[in-house]
Structures are given as C-alpha cells and as structure tokens.
C-alpha cells in the first residue's frame, strides 16, 4: 500500500538510531461532538492506566451538544508529569472539519492515524500517516448506522492500542468497567477493538517510535474528575442541603453528588438525610444555601463565574449577617457565549471580595482531585466555624477532566459545627447571650438555630445594621465595631485555613507562587528549569485566602517571585502585591490564558526569557539558556507579563 511506504519512510527517519520512546507520549483525538467518542477515549486512557502508566485525560469540547469539533488529549508519562503538553505525538483524525488544521499543527515526526476518506497522507512529508477505513470496518460490525458510528470510535482505540502495544486484556477490562459490566454493550465494543487491532496488525506498517509498556506506577490508584471528588467529599462531610442551578463546568458536581447521596444517604425506611433543590437561578440557589445554613443545615451550591456574579448581593448579606454556606466556583472562560467550555482562573478577584461594602471571604483552592475531596469537607467545617460563606475555587480542567490519584482517605475527625447555643446551654446562661457579641475574642460570635425551644433563643437577622444583641442600630460606633470585628474574624481565619504547600530548594534565588491546576504544569516546569537550564526554584502553592503568614516569609527568602496563573491580568499577583508592601517589587507575572490548561513548556520558556533579560544583583548561572530574543518583545521586560503559547 502506498500509504505504508510514506509512513515507513518517516518512521525510519523518526526512529533512526534511537530506541523507542517508552511510556511518554501525548495522544490527541479529534472527533465530532456528540459522536460518542467520550467512551472510547475513556477506554483508551483507562487501559494505559491499567498497564501501570501514569496518565491524564483532557476533554477540549465546544459549547454544543452535537456537531462541533471536539478533542481529547491523553498524556501518558512514566515520570508522572500529567499536565497538558503542547506537542502532540500521536494524532487521531476522525473529523473532516478540523483534519487539515490538526495535521498542520503537528510537530515533525508525529504519527497520524486518520479516517480514510480524509486522504491526508500527502499533506505533510514529515508525518507518519496511518490510513484506516473506519466506516468500512465498523460496517462489518453492525447494521444500525448510529451504532456503527459509535463503534467506529472504538475501532480507533484498537488501532492505537495495536500500534503502541497496549494489551488487549486491559482494553477488555476498561470496556467492562466503562459499560458497567453490561454484556450487551461490552460485546460489540470488544469486537470493535479487535477489528481495529486486527486491521492494524495486518494492514498498517509497524511503528517503533512510541511504545506503551507495562510498568507499576498506578497500582492502587483511582481515576476521577474533580467534580465527582468534591461530591464524594461533600457527602462524607455531612452536607444536608444542596441547592443549585445547572451551568458548565459545575453541573456534574451536583449531579454526581445527587447520585451518591441517593446511594448512600437514604435510610432503611427510604427517607433521605439530605434535601436537594434545583433552583430557578443562582440568586435563588445561594439564597437557599444561606437560608438552610441559617437554620442549621450544612449547605452548599456549585456554579461557575456567571452564577457567582448573580450571587453577589446575597453573599454580602451572608458575610454581614454571618451565615454559613459553601459555594463551589468551577471557573471557566468569559461571560455568556464566551468560551464557556474552556478553562481559566479568572474569578479570583470576584470571589475574594464578592459583594458591596467591606467584605472579604474565605476561599479554598484545591489543585488536585484529592484536595477537592478534602476541601469539600473542610469548607463545610470552616463555613460553620466562621459563620460565613466559604468559596471553593476549582476550574474546568480540574473539575471535568480525569485525574489519577491515591484513593481518598476516610475522614477520621468528626465534623466541626462551630459555636451553636443549644437549649441546654441557654438554660445555663439563663438566656443571657448576644448573637453578635465577641465573647471569645476571636471575632466569632455564638448563634442559635431557629426552632430552639427556649424563650430567649431567638434573634432577628439582618444586614450590617445591628448591635451585639442583633438589635437594629445605625449608630456610627456600633456599625464600626461590627465591621472591625468581622475583620478580626478574618484574622482568626488565617490560623485555620489550609496553609500553602511550600517547597524551598536550597540556594534557589527565585520562587514560584501558583495555585489550583497550574500546579501540574508548574512542577514539571521546575523540573525542566532544573534539568535543562540549571535553575533551582522554590515553590509556594496557595491553598486558600486570606493569605497566611507563610506567604510573606516565602517572598522575603527569594529575589524574584514568579506568580503563575491562568488569567490575563494576574489577579492573584495583584492581591499578593497588596499583601506584601515593599516586597511587591519582587513579583513578576507569568500568565496563561488561552482557554486551554497551562503547560510546563510555556512556563519554562517564560522564566528563561525573563531571567535572561533581567538585571540581577548577582548574575544567575543560566546553563544552556537561549540568548535573549533579538527583537525585544514588548512583554519581555522583567516586570511585565509575557505572552505565551499563541499557537494554542
């Protein structure tokens, strides 16, 4: 076959003199949204995982139910680097709309499996093409046209598996898992895999460039997305009221929470220990969270940026009236018809101070699925302990993509419900208490729940105009005392919120500060900087707001601080500048905002470039650093953000 000749020619050059690259490749699958490729991609990812190879899967999907292009990227990496990698090693082209562009973007030497009618083989001489007649192969499997389409997607899994050496047994296991043991679904899919493997074995050239080989780095691990992890955490955190309004990318959090609650939180008599309401909008959703929190439920909602905007007024009331409630923000790009199905970290400013007046909020920032689980519990605890709305800032990449993790640990500590006066305690106090009195000096008052059977239990809840006994007051000194106490409460919170994860490298002059999903790319970038450029770096990963004391000391230990985040303006960088006083001079921003998850190479290149053009107190040892670009980019000067990854 002519196409095999092309392929082998490139393959020879590609692998000339080199051993195959084992367990280190990125597979990029281009399909049409709604074509059912999700199952195939999951099976492919899972089979690699089951062969013991660290892996991650990212879905880059359009805001559309069916018809628009969608991509899925699987990264397998023996060293455990599972951030997005920009370069694609193996492309699977199933979509005529994007095929030409998909191929044009490949690095030389990449492999490309494509659907025969796309006829890509002569489009680039430096790519190894593998032509597969998917429709014909699927046609041999089923008569029904819809089923054929689905099975065609499973056929590419078989082809990729055969080319890379993924074991058939693990594919079958993955299919069994994917289709929950249902034989009717399993059999045709296994047949499709075999079809693909057989075809590749018989009719495609062998390739020696990339191999997947069994190793042992995933034993005992789970694969889960952040939203499901958060849902499991919330359930074990004793959530009792869940009120929400659907929005991508947060919907799956409440949806999986509902599934889990129905399985594990219904008692023998069929009655539920939880209540769920799909509200009419996010205003109502957060209002219900606060109403429930006020009356003593462990309450939560989840949304994305647009929903947070709608919640602004209520969250302020929650802050001033001191009502617990948890709000998950699964960040995405832009308002309205922006890029609602793409990832970002653009809501930092919005949640840190949401609402009018002197508000400031506790924000937890998970960067892994296990932190989603932990923080789901922690957020419910902190909300009740501090009697205030607590945000959890996740994003689409973490929330909706599949991540490997150690299994979550059963929470050993009981839940913390904060300062609540019961009927018995009120009896002891002879009914003498003040709802907003700071009797403990930590800024946190005591509360009672409605329905408490004591004639002195009640109080009247309203905004900021109240005295220590919740009586209405507009007196200047009373108002000032209230907001000053609220500030003290936030001071106390600094001692209780999850502290940053700090990794100091001996002798490092520069430090990174990042948070959330940037972590994956950042750790890999540190590795690249160390091994490729000899640059040692320290790293502080923020896990919450308000900032704790650790941040200041970390900054003071380093000459330059690179704050890496996924938004245009460096929102966290700005908050840090406010926090740091004189040390703010050290802050430099590295920003990634393409809608796609941040990758390590972009960070590494940005640091190398900025370090090279900087005036250092003592010259840095830049091993193998590229010389500064001849034409100074407007962004290249030390303190300004760098653009990156325009090819994204």
């Amino acid at each position: 076959m002519p196409e095999s000749q092309t392929a082998s020619a490139v393959l020879e050059t590609a692998s000339a003199g080199g051993d195959p690259i084992v367990n280190d490749c990125t597979i990029h699958v281009a399909t049409v949204n709604g074509s059912g490729s999700q199952s195939s991609n999951n099976v492919l990812m899972r089979s690699i995982f089951q062969m013991g190879v660290p892996v991650s899967g990212k879905n880059m999907f359009p805001s559309n139910i069916a018809g628009l292009p969608t991509w899925f990227t699987i990264r397998a990496n023996k060293d455990g680097w599972i951030a997005r990698k920009k370069e694609v090693d193996i492309m699977v082209c199933m979509n005529a709309q994007t095929a030409r562009e998909d191929v044009a973007g490949l690095p030389p030497g990449a492999l490309c499996i494509y659907d025969a009618p796309l006829n890509l083989k002569s489009s680039r001489p430096d790519i190894a093409f593998f032509e597969v007649p998917f429709a014909k192969l699927a046609g041999e499997l089923a008569d029904d046209s819809r089923l054929r389409k689905l099975l065609a997607n499973m056929v590419y899994v078989g082809v990729v598996a055969q080319l890379l050496g993924i074991e058939r047994e693990e594919l079958v296991n993955a299919i069994t898992k994917q289709f929950k043991g249902k034989k009717k679904a399993i059999d045709p899919n296994v047949a499709a895999i075999d079809k693909g493997m057989d075809f590749a074995r018989a009719s495609l050239p062998k390739q020696e460039k990339h191999r997947i080989e069994r190793m042992n780095a995933t034993a005992g691990k789970i694969i889960i997305d952040g939203n499901a992890a958060a849902a499991i955490g919330a359930m074990f955190g004793g959530v009792t009221a869940v009120t929400w309004y659907p929005i991508t990318p947060s919907s799956s959090l409440c949806e999986s929470l509902i599934d889990y609650l129905r399985q594990y939180r219904v008692e023998k008599d069929g009655k539920a220990t939880f209540a769920v309401v799909q509200a009419e909008d996010e205003l109502a959703a957060v209002g219900m969270v606060l109403g429930a929190g006020w009356a003593g439920a462990r309450s939560m909602t989840s949304t994305a940026g647009p929903g947070i905007s709608l919640m602004a007024e209520f969250v302020g009331l929650g802050y001033f009236a001191e009502i617990p409630g948890v709000i998950w923000d699964i960040q995405r790009v832009g308002p309205s018809t922006g890029l609602p199905t793409r990832t970002a970290q653009g809501d930092v400013n919005q949640v840190a101070y949401l609402s009018h007046g002197d508000t400031q909020h506790i924000v937890l920032i998970p960067s892994s699925v296990s932190e989603c689980f932990d923080f789901a519990i922690e957020a419910l605890d902190l909300a009740e302990e501090f009697q205030t709305p607590v945000f959890v800032l996740s994003d689409l990449d973490l929330g909706m993509n599949n991540w490997m993790s150690d299994p979550f640990k059963y929470p050993e500590k009981p839940i913390r419900r904060g300062k609540v006066l019961t009927k018995e305690k009120l009896d002891e106090l002879k009914g003498q208490w003040g709802r907003y009195a700071d009797v403990d000096g930590d800024g946190i008052p005591w509360r009672t729940l409605p329905g408490t059977d004591h004639p002195m239990a009640s109080y009247f809840t309203r905004g900021s105009g109240h005295d220590d006994f919740a009586r209405y007051s507009e007196k200047p000194e009373v108002y000032k005392a209230t907001v000053d106490r609220l500030a003290r409460k936030i001071e106390t919170a600094k001692l209780f919120v999850p502290p940053p994860a700090v990794d100091i490298s001996e002798g490092a002059r520069i430090g990174f500060i990042a948070y959330g999903t940037t972590d994956f790319a950042l750790e890999e970038a540190r590795y690249q900087l160390r091994t490729e450029h000899g640059i040692e770096t320290s790293y502080l990963r923020l896990r919450s707001l308000p900032f704790t004391g650790d941040v200041r000391s970390f900054v003071s230990m380093h000459d330059r601080i690179y704050v890496v985040e996924q938004n245009r303006d460096g929102q966290m960088g700005d908050l840090l500048k406010l926090e740091l006083g004189a040390d703010q001079e050290k802050i430099r921003k590295i920003l990634h905002y393409t809608g796609l998850p941040c990758d390590a190479r972009s960070i590494t290149e940005a640091v190398v470039q900025m370090e090279a053009t900087i005036e250092c107190p003592e010259p840095l040892l830049l091993v193998r650093a590229e010389p500064p670009a001849a034409k100074a980019s407007p962004m290249a000067s030390g303190t300004q953000p760098t653009t990156r990854a325009t090819e994204d």
């Binding site: 005992g220 789970i222 889960i224 074990f236 955190g237 004793g238 009792t240 009221a241 009120t243 594990y264 939180r265 008692e267 009655k271 539920a272 220990t273 939880f274 209540a275 769920v276 309401v277 509200a279 009419e280 909008d281 205003l283 109502a284 959703a285 209002g287 219900m288 969270v289 606060l290 109403g291 429930a292 929190g293 006020w294 009356a295 003593g296 439920a297 462990r298 309450s299 007024e313 209520f314 009331l317 299994p407 979550f408 059963y410 929470p411 009981p414 839940i415 009672t448 729940l449 409605p450 329905g451 408490t452 004591h454 239990a457 009640s458 109080y459 009247f460 809840t461 309203r462 905004g463």
Partner: protein, 351 residues
C-alpha cells in the same frame, strides 16, 4: 357592607391560650412605621392569630424581603427567629430554612414591590414548589420605603400624590397564584381585621404555601383621592366572596346552617373552614371558577376579598422531598456521614 366573618361558638378570647401563653408573649418590637400604616394592622392580626391558635412562638420562623412591609417581622413574635433578607429574595431564604428544619412554621411578609417586581420569579417558583409556609403580600400599590413610586400592582389610572397617573395594567397576585397551582390563595384588607384573623388561622392550618394578598394602605404615599389602594377606596369597593368561619381541630363545634348555604373545607390538621355565601355560591376549591371570578371583579372595579382558592390536599415540597422526620439541621454525624465501607466501595469502583 356585609359582615365578613361567621360567628361560630363563643367569640370570647381567653387571657391565656391552650399552651399557657399570654397575648404579650406574641408581641414584637415597637413598630417604626407611620402611624396608621396598614402594615401595622396586619402585624396585630398575626399576633392574634398565632396566639389564638396556640402556636408556640419558638416554632415559628419569620422571613421578609426589603420594604416597609418587610420590616414588620420585627414587630410581631419576638420569641421567633426572624430573617430580613434582601429585596425580593425572601422565598429563597425561607425555602432553605424549611429544608434545614421542616418542623418550623414559616411566615413570610413581603410587599407588592418586593413580590410583584424584583421578586416575581422567586414568588412564582415558591408557589410552584409549594413550600409549606405562609406568604403575606402587604399590598399598597407603591414602594413605601423608597418614597412612593408606583408598584406593579397599582391600578391603571391610579394617581400618585404628585399627580403622576399609572397607565400600566396591574398584576393580580391572587390570579397569578391560582394560575400557578397554589393550594391556598386569599385576599384580605388591613381595614377588616376580623376577616384577616380567620384567613390567617386557616393559613396556619394549611400544609402548603398559603398566599395572602392583603390590601394594606400606605397612609403616607398612597392614601389620597385618586389612589385605588386608600382606606376609603378599599372600603367602598370591598366585595366579600363569603363570610369566613374557622373551627380549629381541637374544637368539636357543630355549625348550624341551612342546606346549601355553607361550604365546609377540612384542612390538613383536621380544622375546618366554614364559608357562608353572601351574594352567590362561590366554590373556592374550583380553580377555574376562581380565575373567572377574579377577572370579573377586575373588570367591575371590585376588590374581591375572602378565600379565593383552596386545595388543601395538595402535596407540599417537603412531602415530595421525603426527608427523615428529624430536622436535617440537627442530624448526628452517624446519620450524615456514611460508613468507612461506603468510601472503600466507591474507591474500588474508581480503580
């Protein structure tokens, strides 16, 4: 004008109610509203109804939005927790609180601005969900607290003190509630306290959302000639659907009546509402009938008061949620955290 209430049994009010509380135990803080404001008259009837029904105030939770009307929960039942929410969003707060503790007896007070404009969506969804509580709209046709702008319930042709005439049609909150399937819809008038107290008692007995639209004149901004929400205008145009009598579940009173003259409706808790026809046979259990009558009243310029619609058997949201008997708020950890084996099983499935 015909008498709006039906005399049943002895009308004597005892010094103490059945749970040994005095009327003063149901009082609230001192009102800061204008003297003569309709809203204060309604607060007084709330005190009376809860006292006479012997509801323990600690069991009650009071909710409101923003407005003069929404301030009133501070002026009744001090021994009950209260929540003054944000403008138009009382339903969300109340819904959440009822989720947390379905033993609470909820009473919400809102205004026509709070409900018919900014809060219309939440009002409608609360009806649709049938949250078991009382929802009072203190309807004066204006925004009192922001000093007299027209609200969405102001009648067409109604005049502001400044001479501005409203040329948009009013929203009829009762018709809206009936249309959305509310199982208890009533209209009262702050100037008819006896009728109001019976409506309130019936509302307390109802298991579901009870919407009560009360014409409640604003003496400062909308009580002049040319206003259709003034005391004088309301008195002149009040059209009673029936005389209302309320027989609590614990009273065994037989009601004497001519056949066909009276309609009785038994409530969820066994109490009975006795309606005596005035000018016509009005069947409040028939929603279509209610909508027709409301529309007729609107064309005829009548202010129809009484129990507009009753459907006491409708399932409330809490029934549908099927939660455990105890309040979710105070469930112990053993009941809200699944056992270790549950997490093990979930983790196994993900491996």
């Amino acid at each position: 004008m015909a008498e709006s209430t039906l005399k049943i049994g002895t009308a004597e009010v005892p010094k103490e109610n059945r749970i040994g509380l005095k009327a003063t135990d149901y009082h609230g803080g001192k009102s800061t509203l204008c003297a003569g404001c309709g809203h204060d008259a309604i607060s007084n009837q709330i005190v009376r109804a809860f006292y006479e029904m012997s509801v323990k105030p600690e069991r009650v939770a009071k909710f409101s939005g923003i407005g003069c009307s929404s301030k009133t929960p501070a002026y009744f039942l001090s021994r009950a927790h209260g929540f003054n929410a944000v403008h138009g969003r009382m339903p969300a707060i109340a819904t959440g609180a009822m989720l947390a503790n379905h033993h609470l007896l909820g009473i919400g007070v809102s205004g026509d601005g709070d409900t018919a404009s900014i809060g219309l969506g939440q009002f409608m969804h609360m009806i649709r969900r049938n949250i078991p509580m009382i929802y009072i709209v203190e309807n004066n046709g204006v925004y009192g607290l922001t000093k007299g702008q027209f609200s969405a319930t102001a009648d067409e042709g109604s005049k502001l003190k400044t001479g501005v005439i409203n040329d948009l049609p009013p929203m009829d909150l009762c018709a809206l509630a009936v249309q959305l399937g509310c199982g208890f819809v009533a209209r009262g008038f702050a100037g008819d306290p006896k009728q109001m107290v019976n409506i309130l008692k019936a509302a307390i007995a109802h298991n579901g959302l009870a919407v009560i639209d009360v014409i409640s004149p604003c003496v400062t901004f909308n009580n002049h000639d040319g206003s259709t929400k003034s005391y004088t205008y309301a008195k002149e145009h009040d059209e009673l659907l029936h005389q209302i009598g309320f027989v609590p579940s614990y009273e065994q009173i037989e009601v004497d009546y001519e056949p066909g003259e009276v309609k009785e409706v038994t409530m969820h808790d066994g109490s009975r509402i006795v309606l005596k026809k005035i000018e016509e046979a009005y069947d409040p259990t028939d929603a279509t009938n209610a909508l027709v009558r409301l529309k007729q009243a609107e064309s005829a310029g009548q202010m129809l008061t009484g129990l507009v619609h009753l459907q006491p058997e409708k399932k409330s949201f809490m029934d549908l949620l099927h939660v455990v008997d105890e309040p979710l708020a105070t469930l112990t950890l053993e009941r809200t955290r699944p056992p270790r084996e549950a997490l093990d099983k979930i983790m196994q499935e993900l491996m």
